[in-house]
Symmetry: C2
Subunit: 247 residues, 2 copies
Amino acid sequence: MSPLPTSTKLDHRLPRYHRVREALSAEIAAWRWKPEEAIPSETEIAEAHRVSIGTVRKAIDSLVADGVLERFQGKGTFVRRPDFQSSFFRFFRFANVDGPVRVPVSRILKREVTTMSAAVAAALKLEVGAAALRFSRLRLIDERPLVLEDIWLPYERFKALLAIDTREFGDLLYPLYEQYCGVMVASAQETLSAEAVSAKNARLLALVAGEPVIVIERVALSADRQPLEWRQSRGPASEFRYQVEIR
Amino acid sequence: MSPLPTSTKLDHRLPRYHRVREALSAEIAAWRWKPEEAIPSETEIAEAHRVSIGTVRKAIDSLVADGVLERFQGKGTFVRRPDFQSSFFRFFRFANVDGPVRVPVSRILKREVTTMSAAVAAALKLEVGAAALRFSRLRLIDERPLVLEDIWLPYERFKALLAIDTREFGDLLYPLYEQYCGVMVASAQETLSAEAVSAKNARLLALVAGEPVIVIERVALSADRQPLEWRQSRGPASEFRYQVEIR
DNA sequence: TAGTGGTCTAGACCACTCC
DNA sequence: GAGTGGTCTAGACCACTAA
């Protein structure tokens, strides 16, 4: 294995396993290994960093705990692609869950270049009035509206999306962010609430005005925890379950 | 240190650190050490279980990760008391959050001895029709109804609660469980949904029938993950926020 | 100073995967 | 059979806490 670039100045006061962890995550962020690709074996990493295998294991342990890597006995350790598709189905439960798991069909209702409102700018840690890309999107299963989304992105980082016809966006946005904007969503913070649906949203969701809808506000973050996207989703409460463990 | 009781039949096929973990969490659940109390040192535990210190560390690591124990360098390892009061305020947000944090006042509306319904029995891993203790409780802030709760407990473990006048219950139940039933809630699983409020619940919550309410189903667990309590809470959606991090 | 957890080593053997 | 991660050992030294 070639010598590992210690890209950032590594503080010698930090524990070794911590320095190994930083070195590995820096290399992952720099795409030395693509998602789904195996990183070198624990023995190789230990030799490269001149530490014992136990120290490497501790570094990898913490990256696995943070969902950055995945281990498979006998196969290797792999860069994990955060699977928001499956998380979608972890959080949403539908009346007819017997059949195969399906991604809802997405329909972009609107795409515009605008400026950040105060609330969105705060969530994305940008200036109020900064240039923004905004999407309105409807997600359906069996032609039945399921989720209505209002999505805000910083213009500079995502302007490449303007070049694509919205009818060719496909059903998932995060793969597009990766492909066209070189940006990978690594985690997200969500805030749930509920409200009586407005007349306008009721029309789009095929509900009666006043029926309860769940509202989810999501800030999507990169691996180094920079906010990338703000999104607000609304769906009929009757179709919705959300599970959490408190400790 | 006295020999540790290996209370449950421990499967010798399991990894040793796993067996040590099970033994420790069983003892915590059995109140061998009270919350905020130090457990024996890693060296002592290693000797008692005849494993190396590294194996003990791995067992304790996982209990710390699960929020059951807390470590302090130079001081020891302590049984953690989950702070459900503060978690209540992490999850709920009220219109007037400027003032000091307050626990809602609790009013027990009803206490009865009954039998487990199918759904509750399944959640608590008991037989349908097993004896149950059931409470209906309303929680208020400034005389304003905030949460309506339906609480189910296994009769045997909690029958001591029948001896206390419900007007003397106080505003939090988990301290009562600890004091009178020798049971500590260590974690909980919650499922969120929303619905249009029924006429009956609307009356109790001072809402108009049909307004959206959040529904939280909670199963409270002991340190060794035995289900202790099932509870369903309903509150006006307008008063409610819930925050989660996805990875 | 004695005792605690925090870090680290340099091996060992096992279970699993793939060829 | 070769290579991987999973478990485990029996120590070591360090940093921190409390008496």
